[in-house]
């Protein structure tokens, strides 16, 4: 039976773990990351976390919270057959605007590679996959209607049934909240 095994969520000023019933308050994502690292939710430092764009920071923290809530242990250098599906409203629009405005402001001669890499909507998922060693399918999906989350859950379950991954993470972001669901067999 495929079920939701854990949930991590982040809202403005607080975040939490659904099954463990824990919540943490935070001022900014950098301080939240440091608190979660201290609590063992990040078992080793996230490389280049400070250079991530906002969406990648939120994705990586939400995945960390969800895996911790589902009692999934991870370690540096160890890879796991876990995939990620994600959706949101505007893809990577903020990162695209940040890259292109910076390129124009710098005289339209050379863009900044570190901003360009986040202009793909799949990049935040890739950053999370790299830190947690997640080697399953990784896809950003978007839908023109409001049932994004339900649809993503169904796709995640289908991927598990089809043997494409043992466990899937479903990541959804709105202006108010980023949430990650761990979906797998009991």
């Amino acid at each position: 039976m495929i079920k939701t095994l854990g949930v991590g969520w982040i809202k403005k000023g607080k975040c939490g773990l659904r099954d463990k019933g824990l919540t943490y308050k935070y001022a900014d994502l950098k301080s939240l990351y440091l608190v979660l690292k201290e609590k063992g939710i990040f078992s080793f430092p996230v490389e280049n976390f400070a250079r991530f764009d906002q969406a990648s920071k939120l994705a990586t923290i939400a995945v960390g919270l969800a895996l911790y809530d589902a009692d999934f242990v991870y370690a540096q250098g160890k890879k796991q057959d876990i995939g990620i599906l994600a959706t949101n409203k505007n893809g990577s629009l903020d990162a695209q605007l940040a890259y292109f405005k910076d390129y124009i402001d710098s005289g339209r001669t050379l863009g900044r590679g570190n901003l360009f890499i986040y202009t793909l909507p799949s990049s935040p998922l890739a950053e999370a996959a790299i830190h947690f060693g997640l080697t399953g399918p990784l896809l950003y999906m978007n839908f023109p209607d409001s049932a994004k989350n339900i649809r993503l859950m169904v796709y995640a379950q289908e991927m598990i049934r089809a043997g494409q991954a043992k466990t899937m993470l479903v990541l959804k972001s709105t202006n108010q909240e980023t949430a990650c669901f761990v979906v797998g067999a009991l």
């Binding site: 995939g83 890739a126 790299i130 399918p137």
Partner: protein, 377 residues
């Protein structure tokens, strides 16, 4: 894995060779490259001055480049796409030139470039009434979309799925790849010992997938079959693949397993073959892990450039042509085969001896996709 046979019931595309499959196929066999001087925007500050662009498109005017290409493809009569088909659009960043126009000229809205807008427009062009979805996973977008489409059909959720794909050459993308030092100064030379980067290209197209039952009911000519697929992630580095090929080989193994075929059933490999030092070397290492002896492999990116999110769809159509014509084109741009790639790639066209091929795509973030296609003799 597939319980329902997933067949290909139609396809069409536009590349820098022009509209349709014939000019693309002819160009590949003639070893002609479309990578030429880029005149769409100023390139004097960039690493390269070349790209493979579709003729006759207007830039930063009324319609986006991606939409103009899709319009040309869907304007052809008698495409025979059922109105109840589910639409999957594959793209990396779709109509990014709408955002460029907003930033450069203050015209329109940046939000107009969000990919769900292009999905709606594509649905209207294809006269499809089901809203569908967008799949975006870097340069593996359209092969992953084909995998999702096949999955929906084989588990009985849909019986007709249209996969459309589009990505274009814009200043946004060109400046970004230039900043990553990923472009070849001249033209991409996949698997060449002197390769030094990729060339950008643009393309749009579609593949119509159906259950065999639906295709027969619609009296469609069956052009090929999607036998299996494998998707995974290297979890290695945001811009670099696992150098030893272990990520890609994992996706290939998944695809072979889901297709219920062995590596010895494969007649040729459609490589991702970007022309970058790391990608091409990693791919050959991945192939060596899977195949006991070298198989014919090729890349089309020296001909039409790297078409990003559309690459997998274009490459799947070329693979179908190879299966139908029994000829494997040479790798355009290749002059001196890299030592690692000897025995795999060729300067000349070769004969296809089997009826099954595999294609691979790899993207930023270490995303890998592999598809197994077959045409029954």
């Amino acid at each position: 894995m597939p319980e329902v046979k997933v067949v290909i019931a139609g396809y069409d595309l536009i590349t820098a060779y022009g509209l349709g499959v014939s000019p693309l196929w002819r160009g590949l066999l003639e070893k002609k490259t479309c990578i030429n001087n880029l005149r769409r925007f100023s390139v004097k500050s960039f690493q390269s001055v070349n790209a493979a662009c579709v003729d006759g498109l207007t830039y930063l005017k009324n319609k986006s480049l991606a939409l103009q290409m899709l319009e040309k493809v869907f304007a052809r009569n008698n495409l025979g796409i059922p109105r109840d088909s589910f639409l999957i659009l594959a793209t990396t960043i779709g109509e990014i030139d709408i955002l460029e126009k907003y930033v450069l000229r203050g015209r329109g809205s940046a939000r107009g470039s969000v990919v769900t807008n292009l999905l709606r427009k594509t649905g209207r062009l294809a006269k499809i009434k089901v809203p569908g979805m967008v799949v975006s996973c870097a340069c593996a977008s359209s092969s992953a979309a084909i995998a999702q489409a096949a999955s929906l059909i084989c588990n009985g959720k849909k019986d007709s799925v249209l996969v459309a794909a589009a990505d274009s050459v814009s200043e946004f993308v060109f400046s970004g790849f230039s900043s990553l030092m990923a472009l070849d100064k001249k033209r991409a030379k996949p698997f060449d010992k002197d390769r030094s980067g990729l060339s950008l290209g643009e393309a749009a197209g579609f593949i119509l997938l159906m259950s065999e039952e639906r295709a027969r009911k619609e009296r469609k000519k069956i052009q090929g079959e999607v036998l299996g697929w494998g998707l995974n992630c290297d979890a290695n580095h945001i811009t670099g693949p696992s150098a030893d090929g272990s990520g890609l080989s994992g996706a290939i193994l998944k695809a072979l397993k889901s297709a219920k075929v062995s590596s010895s059933d494969i007649g040729c490999i459609s490589a991702h073959g970007t022309g970058t030092l790391y990608n091409d070397s990693m791919e050959i290492k991945a192939f060596r892990k899977i195949y006991k002896r070298p198989l014919p492999a090729y890349s089309i990116k020296g001909a039409i450039g790297h078409t990003l999110g559309a690459a997998g769809l274009v490459e799947a159509i070329v693979a179908l042509m190879i299966l139908q014509e029994k000829v494997i084109p040479a790798t355009v741009g290749l002059e001196n085969i890299d030592r690692e790639a000897k025995g795999w790639v060729s300067l000349f066209p070769r004969k296809l001896k089997k009826n099954t091929v595999i294609l691979n795509n790899c993207g930023f973030g270490g995303i890998n996709a592999a598809l197994v296609l077959r045409v029954n003799d």
